[in-house]
Structures are given as structure tokens and as C-alpha cells.
Symmetry: C2
Subunit: 467 residues, 2 copies
């Protein structure tokens, strides 16, 4: 009989708790869709500030603005965490053309890759050699590569459903193309933009020379997908054509910048930290609305939506707006370093850095046991069409926080349009849909609510039964 009573008590507690969670999620989503702030914040970040390259004036303005906005929310703490960041500047607008064997020229759209050196004063002109990958480049060898501009033209694979996989399969051309071509004596590198569409916009992004000596460092630029197709077909007809490009970008000395952090201190377990974040810096061609203004304003709204929904977290919830994800990851590295120094026990770190599109779910970097626990909440998300719960990568900025006990996760929005805008001049506010952005904020808030309530380790699974 005692056992039966206990069973009934446990069962009804579970039922009540399930009802309450469903109701709480409904409150969170309704609040986000009818009284969200993410879209208004993004409007300001995008249209009043604009692109926020690390070390730029705009990045500093974004630090000030988001700190002020967080201060208005009545959080327990808001502060800036100092971090030195690289400062790379684009210089004057890049210029490029294809020159045929007969001397006629065709202008094409390029942009310098972030971290690239400038061309020699007045630009560089050289014959072009097209390759698909580093293997092909190495087979060609110094004899065929020296003195030339190497054109990396491997497209993103269109039949991959998850566009981030297609990106992952191509991005080494952009990141290391100049390093590999420089070793073989090339004089410049042109990389097909990481874009699944055919259009006229070049997409920038980070590149590195590794520890290549200065003498082997060569300028590298991205070319639009339409112009990559054009260059490739012109090359097929005219092996003697030359490519000219001019860029005046420059790496400056590191400058002082900041991560922006806000916290609701936990009522029961203040030294257990749950963080939500995105990166405040962006590339400079667009206004960084999807990458990653969206993730920043959604993360800010997670703390606000918790408060607006009357939720008082047991654990400490932090929003972290990381500086310098795009070209250095200095903010994330600094945050993890300070957290370690202070012995802060981070139990869950959620990043939103895949665009402000309709949320589909999350991917988790964690043990099977923890994943199974989180996945048991799946049905709570069904009314919101959140269906994607998978083990996998989380995000660049939460990466340095990964430990055996900290679960890292990434919001997974619909990714089909993301690379149309990624790092290009059309990553702008009008391409973010208000509802999609707000649904993302609500989805993040809901998961944070559940993690805070039930804890993250499989052992703390039974916490609700203690109540």
C-alpha cells in the first residue's frame, strides 16, 4: 500500500510537472511572439550600427549598446570582460578583372579574405591556374604554380541537405588556400565564394597563413559564384588569360575590446552556470544580421523572456556576447580562461550562430546519458515544430568551455538560405524574419528553462521528485 501511494505520488508529481512545463513553454513562446525584444535590438544593431568587424568603431558601439540594453533588463549583474582582439581593415574597395589573351578585360566581383595581405601597390596580374583542391594543387607542383594566381573553384555540394556540411566540405580552400599556394610560389589566390546560389556577391571569411614566412604570404580574395563560373569557362577557352586584382587590406596591431556579459544569479545553485550566447563581431560587408546579430539578440532575450515569464532560475543564467568569433576567437578563449580561473562550474552552454531562421532544434555535444535525458523533453517542443535533437557539434564560441561536465549545444535553425547571405553584403536586416527570430529566442529560452529546472547530469534527473 505504501508503495502504491508512493507510486501515485510520484506519478502525479510527474504529470503535474509535465503540465506545468507545457504551460511554461506556451508562456515563453507567446511572450516572445507578442512581446519579444530581439527584433527591435537587431534593428538597432544592424541599421543604426551596422557591420561590426573586430577592433572597429562599430564593434565598440555594439559593446556599448548591448551593455546598456542589458542594464535596462534588471539583471543581477552586467559587465564587460576585457579582451585584446586582432584588427584587420579592408582598405579601399577591391577591384579585379579577367584579361583575355587578346587584351580585352571583364570586370569581376571580389573581396579580400579576412586576414589577407594587400596586393603589391597597383595590384597583381598573372596567369591563372584552376584547381579543385589541395591534392590537385600539390600534384601540379611548383613548376606549374609558381608565378601564377591559383583559382580554387570547388563548389559547395548542392545535394547535401544540411548546408553546414556543404560548407565544411569547401571552407579549407578559403582558410588555407593562400598558405598552400604560397608554399608553391603562387602570387595570389582567388577562391570561389562559399555560396550555394549563383549570384554576384563575393563572400569574405577568415583565412590564415599559419607560420608561413612573410616572403611566401600572398594576397587572397573571394570571387562571386557567377564570376567563378565565368572565369572557369573563360579559362577553358583561353589558357593564356590573366587575372588582375587589387586590394589594400592590412593587419593592424591588436586593440582592446570586450565580451558583454549579463547574469541572473541562481537562487539555489549560484555556482552552476548555464550560458547562452552569440558573437557580437561580424564581417564588414553586410550588417551582420544573420551572422551573428541574430544569435546575440536571441541570447539577450533569453534572460529577458525568463524574467517576463516569471521564471526564477535556480542556477545562474548568463548571456555572453562573444567578441571576435570571426577572425580569432579571442573572446571565447578569454571567457573560458576566466571561467576556469574562477572555478565557475559551467554545466550547459548554448550558442546561436547559424542564422535567425526558423528554429528546427538543437545539436548537442554530450554523453549519451545526458542526450537521452534532454531528448525526453522532445514532446514538449512538438507544438512549436521543434523536432531536431541530435548529437553533434555545438558552436565555435562555446567550444573552449567544453569539459566532461559542461554540455555544449547549438541552436539549429533551417539552414537552406543561410549561405546565400553568410559573410556577404546581403547579410542584412531585411533578410531576417521577425517571427523566425522570435521563435528561435523562445526555443532557446525553453531549453534553458528545462535545463535549469531539472539539471543536466543524469543523476540530477530526479530533482523534481524532491520538490
Amino acid at each position: 500500500m505504501k508503495k502504491l501511494v508512493l507510486l501515485i505520488t510520484i506519478l502525479s508529481s510527474v504529470i503535474v510537472s509535465a503540465q506545468t512545463d507545457a504551460e511554461t513553454l506556451r508562456t515563453i513562446y507567446t511572450t516572445s511572439l507578442t512581446n519579444g525584444k530581439s527584433y527591435e535590438w537587431l534593428d538597432y544593431l544592424s541599421n543604426q550600427i551596422g557591420g561590426r568587424l573586430s577592433g572597429s568603431l562599430n564593434a565598440e558601439k555594439a559593446v556599448e549598446y548591448t551593455k546598456e540594453e542589458l542594464e535596462k533588463l534588471g539583471l543581477d549583474k552586467v559587465w564587460l570582460q576585457p579582451v585584446m582582439v586582432p584588427k584587420w581593415v579592408r582598405g579601399t574597395k577591391e577591384y579585379a578583372f579577367i584579361e583575355s589573351g587578346s587584351g580585352s578585360t571583364t570586370t569581376v566581383n571580389i573581396c579580400a579574405l579576412g586576414g589577407s595581405i594587400a596586393t603589391p601597390f597597383g595590384g597583381v596580374k598573372a596567369p591563372v591556374i584552376e584547381v579543385q583542391d589541395f591534392e590537385e594543387l600539390k600534384k601540379l607542383g611548383r613548376l606549374n604554380v609558381a608565378g601564377k594566381i591559383v583559382f580554387f573553384n570547388r563548389p559547395m555540394q548542392p545535394d547535401l541537405i544540411q548546408t553546414f556540411e556543404a560548407y565544411g566540405g569547401c571552407v579549407n580552400q578559403r582558410y588555407a588556400g593562400a598558405m598552400e599556394a604560397g608554399k608553391l610560389g603562387a602570387v595570389g589566390v582567388i577562391v570561389r565564394s562559399m555560396n550555394l546560389r549563383l549570384d554576384d556577391l563575393p563572400h569574405t571569411g577568415s583565412m590564415s597563413y599559419g607560420d608561413l614566412p612573410n616572403s611566401q604570404r600572398i594576397p587572397s580574395a573571394a570571387i562571386s559564384t557567377n564570376d567563378a563560373e565565368k572565369l572557369s569557362s573563360m579559362l577553358a577557352l583561353d589558357k593564356d588569360l590573366k587575372f588582375f586584382f587589387n586590394q589594400t587590406c592590412k593587419q593592424m596591431n591588436d586593440v582592446q575590446s570586450y565580451n558583454v556579459i549579463g547574469e541572473i544569479t541562481g537562487s539555489e545553485f549560484p555556482n552552476e552556470y548555464i550560458i547562452v550566447g552569440g558573437h557580437l563581431d561580424s564581417w564588414d560587408l553586410g550588417d551582420g544580421s544573420h551572422d551573428d546579430g541574430a544569435g546575440c539578440v536571441q541570447s539577450m532575450d533569453v534572460l529577458r523572456l525568463l524574467k517576463e515569464s516569471g521564471i526564477k532560475p535556480k542556477r545562474s543564467i548568463r548571456v555572453v556576447l562573444f567578441m571576435n568569433e570571426e577572425n580569432g576567437l579571442r573572446g571565447a578563449t578569454k571567457y573560458a580562461e576566466v571561467a576556469k580561473q574562477k572555478g565557475e562550474n559551467h554545466i550547459f552552454s548554448l550558442e546561436s550562430d547559424a542564422g535567425g531562421f526558423t528554429p528546427r532544434g538543437f545539436s548537442f555535444d554530450c554523453s549519451d546519458a545526458v542526450f537521452n535525458k534532454i531528448e525526453s523533453w522532445r514532446s514538449l517542443f512538438k507544438p512549436y515544430l521543434i523536432h531536431y535533437f541530435e548529437k553533434g557539434g555545438s558552436g565555435a564560441d562555446v567550444g573552449p568551455l567544453k569539459t566532461d561536465t559542461n554540455v555544449c549545444a547549438g541552436l539549429r535553425p533551417d539552414s537552406q538560405r543561410y549561405f546565400d547571405h553568410h559573410h556577404a553584403a546581403n547579410d542584412t536586416f531585411e533578410h531576417v524574419n521577425k517571427r523566425e527570430l522570435e521563435l528561435g529566442a523562445a526555443t532557446m529560452t525553453s531549453l534553458v528553462y528545462l535545463i535549469d529546472k531539472y539539471g543536466i547530469s543524469p543523476i540530477s534527473n530526479n530533482e523534481e521528485l524532491k520538490d
Copy 2:
């Protein structure tokens, strides 16, 4: 022992069949994403033809174009099915302003609703009464309504996750607002656009006077959401303001038009029909890319993708491009009538008429037994992030085909952005993403492939075991 052998035979047949289906779906998706035609067709329909209002020259051009394109596919049959359709014309651009008590005017954006009569020559000007719904209107009664312009201002409910539900909760204002207000002696109707965004674009759509006598028929127009907010707040401050609008739209005599039909005749069960379709007509303000150019080109590509993937259907597969969904449903009615006359056994009818956005799944109008059978294929769709399999409505054009044995279904794409564009000047090609459109076509093709292979009735569930 015999039983065991039979079991092993059955099991291995099921496993082989499952593998083959997974591979076939992979082929279908890859073909659509690398060699699809839907986007190219939509480009022509949208940019070379444009908006395709029933009875218009553009609608006729679209009939000719799609017939020619289907003829190029090497189908077994392509034909036009004649149908008389209503012809309503918008006339000159509508014009409207708010006139304050003191006589100052503010121009606002309106458009006539499809089917509305014109205003009296030179326009109509009258005091305004704002209501949320028909109940409020009826309570106000003739005394308060006669001689006035009724302003229906109930917004779409933003906290509903499925935007079609929010649409369903509002659209009676647009469809029947003029009928209800006309009965009470109003002189005009202005309806808040069915749009979840605040912007400046009025959204048209069908309206009806029912069997109201001509003397009670009053002109009705949609107003942009921004201007609906403006009118409402100005009214709150100035009850004496007047609204002026002028529109010259007109209902003409019915004209001859056509459904466009193509067929792959089934190799085993030619009198079992599976159809896929969308509607070829559209409203006139945009180019009808999402509504429903997308559904048409996806449906056309279903037949092409089956052929390209080397699938030879057992049953007859038809694409039907219905004419006049928007303001009459004459094409759908005619198609169902002819199908019945000819005794064609339609077993499955799939409609795509919810925009060309990322597909999420399907809704089915069918028995539990059939639904369970279809849902058993869910895991085949998981790699393509297709997760939504629910019982529910199908679509307007397949509705007249509903019988006890015909299963009706609708493709369900992500709906968050749909009503930003629906029936407005920004329903245009650049708002359709190529990959999203192609994923929709592949998703439809995959379901048609499975239905063709396994049949639809729970009884024919065992067909594969006969092979």
C-alpha cells in the same frame, strides 16, 4: 520450418525493399537539387509571364507555357481540360486617404478585394466605424453602421505557431465583411490585410456578396497593416474623421480557360490515379511565385523527377495545374466532375499550395489506418529533415476529389514567412529560394513514389510481398 523460411523470406524482402526505398529517395533528392527544373520554370512563369489572374491574358500564356513544357517531358499524355472561369479586373490603381475633422488628408495604401464592385464614380467618402468581428458589427446595428465605412481591424493572432491557423481566424472579415456590413447599410468596407508583419503592402484576396441584392452590395478593399494601425489610432483621437477610397474594379462575363494536365500512365494499375497539383492562376499584384507558381512547378517536376530517377510507376501519375483556385475553384470542380464521369479511381491527391518554402512534411485527410501506414515511412524522410506527418486539411483544389477511397494530402512547408507575401505585390520570384523549392519537389516525389509502390489502402499494404 516452412514457416521460418517464409518469415525469413518476408523479412529479407522487407529489408531489401527498405534499403531500396532509402536509395531511391536519395536519388530523387539528389536529382532535384542538382538537376531540378522547378526553379527555371518558376523564373519563366514569374518573370516572363507574371501575375495570372483567372481570365487574364497572362493566365492564358501560363496555360500555353506549362502545356508546352510538359510536352517536352515525354509523358504519356498531356492535355488541356476546358473550364469556364470568372473574370474580374482591378481597373486603375486604387486610391485612398484619411480625412481628419479639420480637413487634412493622409494617403493610405489599399487594394480592391477580388470580386468587389467599384466605388461610385469619383470614389466614396464617409465616416468610419472600426470593428473587430461580425458580432461587434451586429451589436452596433443599422443605426450605427448605415452610411458609414466599416473598418474590420482584427489582426492575425501572432502567438499561433502555424500561421495558416492565424489566417483561418481572420479571413472571414475579408471574405464576408462586405456582405455583413452591406446588410446594415454601410457604404464601404476596409479590411486589415491578412499579414503578420507591419508593412505598407495591401493584400488582396477573394470576397463574396453571397446572394445579397445588388442594392446592398458595397465596395470593399484591403488596407496595409501599417495603415490599419494608423487609421485605428487616428480614429481613437478623432471620431469625426472620414475615409475616402476610389476603385474601378469590375466583374466581366465568364471566359474560357483550362486546367493543364500531364500523365504517366501506370504499368500495372492504369485506372488507379495519383495526382499532384497546384493552381496556375494567381492574384495580380505580385507575380504569384509562392502562391502558387511554386506548387505548379513542383508538381510538374514530380513527374519529371520520377522519370529522371528511373522510376516506372505502376499506377497512373498525373500533374494537374488547376485554373481559378483563387476566386472560384472552377478548375478543381471541373476536374473532379470529369473524373467522376469517367469513373477514374483517384486513390491519392497531393496539393502544394502553401508556398515554396523549406518543406516540413504533409497533412493528410484520411482514415487512421491509412495514416498509420503512411506514417510508417517517416524514417525514410528523416535524412531530409521531413518530420511533419499529421492528420488535417489537405488543400482547396483536391477537396472536390475527396471520397472514401481517395486520400487527400497537402505539402506543409515552413509557414512563418508565407503571409508576408500572400496575395501582395511582394509575392515575387526573388523571395523563393531555389533549394527550398527543390526540396519541396523532391519531398512530394518521394511520397508519390512510395504511394505508387505500396498502394494506399491498408489492405494493399502487403503488395510488396507478392513481388
